[in-house]
């Protein structure tokens, strides 16, 4: 029992430190051979997943965890100085909710990569960078420190850019990675400037300490603008979305799946900044409407750009943009109504819908990208015009694709419908027009996935793929089956997820005072 307590106490840091340690140990383990390395990496991912679930169960039952680095005496300095200068991790229900997504997606990605990555060179580096991506995501989700958020954001973008360019022998890989890197470096530097603006005024970097001191002066407003735009750019909101299809289509399929989760970590940072750092001290209506407008633009332009695409992964990338719009819309409505009576009437439900959509989207979009990767693995093309008749031989892949496509289009009883119905019905009370646009976007989503399904899986067997289009190897099958099972389970029992994970997360996001008091206490 002592050991379990110790694990629980150190869980926030173990979740980061284990993959970090494993990331640098992977090249050394890789010298033993392919099997030991893959077993090592998969077991680390499984341990991290178990730790995350253990931590989540405790956080949701017993409240927030605060982990102080390098200190024997907690958050106070030995001299009794109470302004939090130490680096802390602050893990609340929203953080663990995001961490569950990241851990699951990383696990599925690593299992899938076992068979998918067959390149002669750089396999060990691939797993190193994949684990570093996990570290970046967990760090952004757990940190209670503004500068650490920037550091983990940069770790995440460096690792993901390097992985986008993993197949460096194709010119489009380096092109997509370069575009992604330039845009995300500029975005991250604006985040740094905004953090410097806040630090210059309040002399602390701790998120809770800045949040409790914030005055919403002119400089704070500039910092808010920089932070909100930079994180909205990193989560791929229209009109700053153009890097998304480039990077997503150039990356190997499992990386694309983790990139979706990475952009959701940026979305978490956006929500954390808006709700916890500024909260009711700012003009929530204006920022809320800004996020809503970004969300609606993302939904509509994303889906209409997806319709004419001919590259299967570019098409799915535009859908990723479109689906992020739902999350921004749901949580944006929550932010716009924050502090008013409307929040309890429908704002919280909208937030629940948006947050529930995050986990749903990570699972079904991950599944869809994996099926696209399975097609690429067998056919060596991403061009939809060259595909056809795969349903005859790749039956399981086709089944998984149907599950993912129905879920993303919001067809009951899959999980996409559960979160979308929460968004539709609560947003309708906020503004009926937005809700109608959201439904229209759902229709167009179904239309474009019908196109993909018809052109890839339906039709006669094509002579050029005779003998090539076989079922995928078992690790890829296991990864897809894992995600498909989660999608179906979450669709059949949505209230299980909503009651136990989503509602605490939404309340943690809206409950700013608890987050601030956990660090500032009586001070």
């Amino acid at each position: 029992m002592m050991f379990m307590d110790w694990i629980l106490h150190n869980a926030p840091v173990l979740i980061l430190a284990l993959p970090l340690l494993a990331a640098f140990a992977t090249p050394l383990v890789g010298k033993l051979g392919k099997w030991p390395r893959n077993v090592f990496v998969v077991s680390v991912a499984v341990i991290v997943e178990a730790l995350v679930i253990y931590l989540a169960s405790d956080v949701i039952a017993n409240g927030m965890h605060t982990y102080v680095f390098g200190a024997a005496s907690g958050i106070l300095l030995p001299s009794g100085y109470s302004v939090p200068v130490r680096i802390i991790f602050q893990v609340d229900a929203m953080s663990v909710f995001m961490a569950i997504i990241s851990a699951t997606v990383t696990l599925a990605g690593i299992v899938y990569s076992w068979a998918f990555v067959t390149d002669k060179q750089g396999q060990s580096k691939y797993y190193t960078l994949l684990l570093m991506m996990a570290v970046g995501m967990f760090g952004m989700e757990f940190t209670g420190d503004l500068f650490n958020m920037f550091v983990f954001l940069e770790i995440l973008s460096i690792a993901s850019c390097a992985l986008v360019a993993f197949r460096i022998s194709f010119s489009e890989s380096s092109e997509g990675a370069l575009k992604y890197m330039v845009v995300s470096a500029v975005g991250a530097l604006f985040v740094l400037i905004a953090i410097a603006l806040l630090y210059g005024q309040y002399n602390v970097l701790n998120l809770a300490a800045v949040g409790s001191a914030i005055q919403f002066t002119a400089l704070d407003k500039i910092a808010l603008v920089l932070l909100v735009s930079a994180f909205a750019m990193k989560c791929g909101a229209v009109p700053m979305h153009m890097w998304t299809p480039d990077a997503y289509s150039a990356a190997p399929a499992p990386i694309t799946m983790v990139l979706v989760s990475a952009s959701q970590a940026s979305m978490y940072a956006l929500f954390r900044i808006a709700f916890t750092l500024y909260g009711v001290s700012m003009n929530t209506g204006a920022v809320g409407w800004f996020i809503i407008i970004l969300g609606v633009l993302s939904m509509f332009i994303g889906v209409t750009m997806a319709l004419p695409q001919k590259d299967i992964k570019r098409l799915m990338a535009y859908h990723a943009i479109s689906q992020s719009g739902y999350m921004l819309l749901g949580v944006g409505v929550g932010l716009a109504t924050l502090g008013s009576s409307a929040f309890n009437e429908y704002g919280l439900t909208a937030m629940k819908g948006g947050i529930f959509h995050i986990i749903n989207h990570a699972m079904y979009k991950g599944l869809l990208f994996l099926t696209a990767g399975a097609i690429y693995y067998r056919l060596n093309t991403r061009n939809l015009n060259k595909m056809g008749g795969l349903g005859h031989t790749m039956k399981w892949t086709a089944a998984f694709f149907i599950i993912g496509a129905l879920a993303i289009a919001g067809i009951p009883p899959f999980n996409g419908f559960a979160s979308k119905v929460l968004i539709y019905e609560s947003v309708f009370r906020f503004s009926p027009l937005l809700s109608i646009i959201a439904m229209l976007v759902s229709v167009l989503t179904l239309a474009s996935f019908v196109k993909v399904f018809h052109s890839a899986f339906m039709g006669p067997r094509l002579p050029e793929y005779e003998g090539v289009a076989k079922e995928v190897p078992w690790p890829m099958f296991v990864a897809m089956a894992l995600l498909a099972a989660i999608v179906v389970a979450m669709g059949l029992f949505p209230n299980l997820i909503v009651d136990n994970l989503v509602t605490p997360a939404a309340q943690a996001l809206a409950g700013r005072a608890d987050y601030l008091n956990a660090v500032m206490g009586g001070a």
Binding site: K221, M240, V287, H454, S455
Partner: protein
Amino acid sequence: MFGPLETGAGYWTPLVWVGSMVVVVLVTLVIRGLGERTAKNTHMKGDPFMSGNPEVSKENSHVRAGNIYWGFLKAMEPYYKPLMKWHNGNVNDYVLMFIMVIAVLLLAIVLPGVF
């Protein structure tokens, strides 16, 4: 665990939905079973009729992705033309859009406080 999901305006229970779907499928099967057995074997059922032209081989008759929704895209051309021009794949424009969003938001957030 199996209770309804409150949506603010109503509720959603997937299990009830699945159950009613099963009932619908059963009813459909029953109605289908009442039909004429010989109907399946009708001559030429399911063969395409190409205005009297000979039928193309199956490999060549697959509708490729580029042709799906051609009419929709043609009708929406005034909408798609500027949109495609905007997605020109130029990294300068990616940064420019980012800066423009920052500028718009600055005007929306900072200006109301100044005046």
